[in-house]
């Protein structure tokens, strides 16, 4: 979609993050920006720097996610398209929908501080973005979604994490799941004070890489 399309949908409206627009538009915007606008910005190498985008957590999370989608091997997408032609759009659309759901701040996860006049926290969206990065670092794995179950707003409450992943064909699934689980636990320990009671890893799909047989 071009800028022209954006203007047509939001006539005379200044580009103000968070300003309510027409209901039909709200679902398609990330803090006042369209996905196409953010993709164009990414295409330009995030230059010239747009302070409105860079000062928005939602936009930054989306930019990271879009980078990740682009980083997926083209062969993965080609394979999806040839193997299941009716699913290729669904696969990407599902991933994008998941990303859009995850960039919304969500719950605040508290961090301890000895000074009662200081309150520290991490948003649930930041943690979900972190878990996606963790998945990116595991060879042959794509994390499709993550869930934090339990009361993350209460310090010390037991939390169960569920990561849904897909894997490249040929990747040993138990080993990949174990690596992902260990990396997630390590990242959560470094960046949060959540008490992780369990990390569940669900493998819900396998993709072919470089034309191999399934």
């Amino acid at each position: 979609m071009s800028d022209h399309d954006d203007d047509a949908r939001v006539p005379d409206a200044p580009r103000v993050p968070g300003v309510p627009l027409q209901p039909a538009d709200q679902d398609e915007l990330v803090d006042g920006r369209t996905l196409d606008e953010l993709e164009d910005y990414l295409d330009r190498g995030r230059t010239p720097r747009d302070p409105g985008i860079e000062a928005s957590a939602e936009c930054r999370l989306t930019l990271r996610a879009l980078e990740r989608v682009r980083g997926l091997s083209l062969s993965v997408l080609e394979d999806e398209a040839s193997r299941l032609p009716s699913r290729d759009d669904t696969w990407i659309a599902g991933l994008i929908d998941s990303i859009k759901a995850e960039v919304v701040g969500g719950r605040d996860i508290p961090l301890r501080h000895p000074d009662p006049g200081v309150r520290l926290g991490v948003t649930e969206a930041a943690v979900r973005g972190l878990l996606r990065q963790v998945g990116d670092a595991v060879d042959g794995v794509v994390v499709r979604s993550s869930e934090l179950e339990g009361d993350v707003t209460e310090a010390g409450a037991p939390i169960e994490v569920t990561l849904t992943m897909t894997a490249r064909y040929g990747v040993p699934l138990r080993e990949a799941a174990g690596t992902l689980r260990a990396a997630a636990v390590s990242a959560l320990a470094l960046h949060t004070e959540l008490r992780i009671a369990a990390v569940h890893v669900v493998v819900d799909d396998v993709w072919l890489d470089g034309g191999g047989a399934s």
């Binding site: 200044p14 993050p17 928005s56 605040d108 309150r119 972190l130 470094l190 960046h191």
Partner: protein, 130 residues
């Protein structure tokens, strides 16, 4: 009745000075946080409606650089809220503690007010190449 002033508010007359002072403080704190170890970016911490009103006002009068740290004075209490993106390579709790220390130090300097600080990491990511 307790009055409340917030950086970015649009006031007239006697309130202008107080709001301008908070605007300057917000800008100063924003710049200071950009230099804190483990902070990748300072994000807009103000409530969406306040940010929107400020952006519209900036559009009308040209607007100069503005701070992203939310600073509110209510009576003798100065409430300072910051949202940041933190470096995935460093422990976020430690980064946020450093941020809080900077905010407390700079906001409390000479103000005589009680300072309450809130810091949230809204993104954890690798630093962008500059």
């Amino acid at each position: 009745m307790t009055t409340e002033d917030r950086a970015g508010d649009q006031h007239h007359g006697a309130d202008d000075g107080a709001v301008a002072e908070l605007d300057d403080l917000s800008l100063d704190l924003t710049d200071a946080l950009r230099g804190v170890e483990g902070v990748v970016e300072v994000l807009d911490a103000r409530p969406v409606v306040v940010a929107a009103i400020t952006a519209v006002a900036d559009g009308i009068d040209g607007g100069g650089p503005r701070g992203l740290v939310d600073v509110v004075r209510t009576g003798g209490v100065l409430t300072v809220a910051a949202s940041v993106a933190t470096d995935v390579g460093r422990a976020t709790p430690e980064t946020l503690a450093r941020v809080a220390a900077v905010l407390r130090d700079r906001a409390g300097r000479g103000s005589g007010a009680e300072v309450v600080v809130s810091v949230t990491s809204r993104v954890i990511e690798p630093p962008l190449p500059r």
